[in-house]
Symmetry: C2
Subunit: 283 residues, 2 copies
DNA sequence: GTTCCGCATGAATCGATAG
DNA sequence: ACTATCGATTCATGCGGAA
């Protein structure tokens, strides 16, 4: 793989074979959920989902470094009034495959899908499952610290309005010196619950997650120059963030249209697009 | 069972046999988690947990009405760097027992336990698993509606700082008349994510959950005069809330001290305490 | 009556130390 | 080696006392 961003077009069950052993520091992806996005990805029924995913997770286990992490964004749908159990069965099966199920983060979707049903509320959360190969893995906790609760309530009142309105995720880099001096002492480690809005802009992809999501995990589990992999790339949000954060990346998608879209979102001097017909095409 | 509040002292595997078939509208409980609260409840190791719980859930299935709901509050702990899988195995086993796994609510604990570890953040959420006997169950959604987001964003800005900093869950009860007039028009249905702080005040029970938690589910799944059951009553929070909301209730606990504590928290004219020696003792 | 400050207190988890 | 116990770490909350 080249440094910078690499895009592979094709079924990830095949394309993953091109990725060398122990070469990836972080896998972060959101595969098609069971029976959803059927027009683009073919749709996997719930009772076949584990069987479909295990060969993929076997490849992921191979390409991930010992110190690396795999973040899987998934949520079971409702079938006949019940939540499906395929996600739980997948976790149990992946443990038998050799994965450690280290943690389950919760993505709380602040603006979840609207709707009303007689015996169910709106679903406002998804699972972010963390898997590892080894109990010892790289984690850079300081890179995702957040303002403390009391700090936000009291100290922030004295700041200017423009400073207050800035994106909290950019705190620590965007402020002036005088304020950032406080920050080192007035910040706390986050928890395993993430509060993010879903992407509501008009992307041409059916299930784009917000940039903050891959950004948080890329900051937390990798350093500059590390390799990030998204085997279900979609419109390429993970790669865009990886490039901005100076990480190398590999994206795979079976839909050529998405691959070209992802390439245009990357900077002109990054992004190697590997077509089926040609060996690879540098830009 | 009498109307009002009933307290049974003893192991719920035995005491549940005193509860008639199809007589309970809502079960809401928080059993001792695996290997926790060992001093008071003996502690069940993770690999024995399913086996320990299934006879209890079998009784619960018997006493619950067809239209009733079972809410189970639980969270797996970390063992050897991994999350235990016993909760997932319990869900799968309870489905085989005849339960429908209808939904999983998330309790986001705003004040979670502190701590810092090299490869893990603080755990800020617990599972609230909803089980049912039947696809059709009673749900009274209007009784738990919350102020709309827009209301909080715009109207609340004009209020005092202390009011703004209050727990949003108390909005609607703590405000003055002039504001509560708006509430009836500007409310929305909640989602399946609950934001509540844990009770860390000086109760003599190690793990009392906040009153808002049983209150939310009692309002959502029962009406006045319905029967609520908590087979792991603890200090009796569920019964106190049920009494306040004019529901009948049954509480069971193996620790006599907790049962007496619960009785003192109930009003003098409610609360039948069934001791082992005497048939029952009315107050 | 308010507001502010200080303090104790948890359904935690890891690594080291002791049996 | 494998298990039991202990200290260190850390922060939102609600209480009491004081201004």
């Amino acid at each position: 793989m080249n440094s910078g961003s690499n895009i592979l077009i094709g079924d990830c069950r095949e394309q993953l074979k091109l990725v060398p052993d122990n070469s990836v520091d972080l896998i972060v992806t959101s595969p098609p959920y069971a029976d959803q996005r059927t027009n683009t990805y073919g749709g996997v029924p719930p009772d076949k989902y584990v069987e479909w995913f295990l060969p993929i997770s076997e490849q992921l286990l191979r390409v991930l470094r010992e110190s690396g992490t795999f973040i899987l964004n998934i949520k079971e749908k409702v079938v006949a009034g019940e939540r499906s159990t395929y996600v739980m069965e997948l976790i149990l099966a992946m443990r038998r495959q050799g994965w450690l199920w280290t943690e389950e983060f919760i993505w709380h979707k602040k603006n979840c899908y609207p709707g009303k049903w007689p015996n169910r509320f709106r679903d406002a959360w998804e699972r972010l499952l963390q898997f590892n190969k080894n109990r010892r893995f790289h984690m850079y906790q300081e890179s995702v610290m957040v303002p403390m609760g009391e700090w936000a309530d009291t100290r922030l009142r004295n700041l200017s309005t423009t400073d207050r309105l800035r994106d909290p995720s950019k705190v620590g880099s965007g402020f002036g010196k005088n304020i950032s001096n406080w920050l080192n002492r007035e910040r706390a480690y986050p928890t395993n619950v993430l509060h993010l809005a879903t992407e509501c802009s008009n992307r041409n992809h059916s299930a784009a997650f917000p940039e903050e999501l891959p950004e948080w995990f890329i900051r937390l589990f990798t350093q500059e120059g590390d390799m990030v992999l998204d085997p279900f790339m979609g419109s390429g949000t993970t790669l865009v963030v990886a490039e901005r954060l100076k990480r190398n990346a590999i994206g795979i998608d079976i839909v050529p249209e998405y691959c070209r879209m992802a390439k245009t979102r990357l900077s002109p001097f990054e992004g190697y697009l590997l077509e089926e017909e040609e060996e690879y095409e540098s830009s």
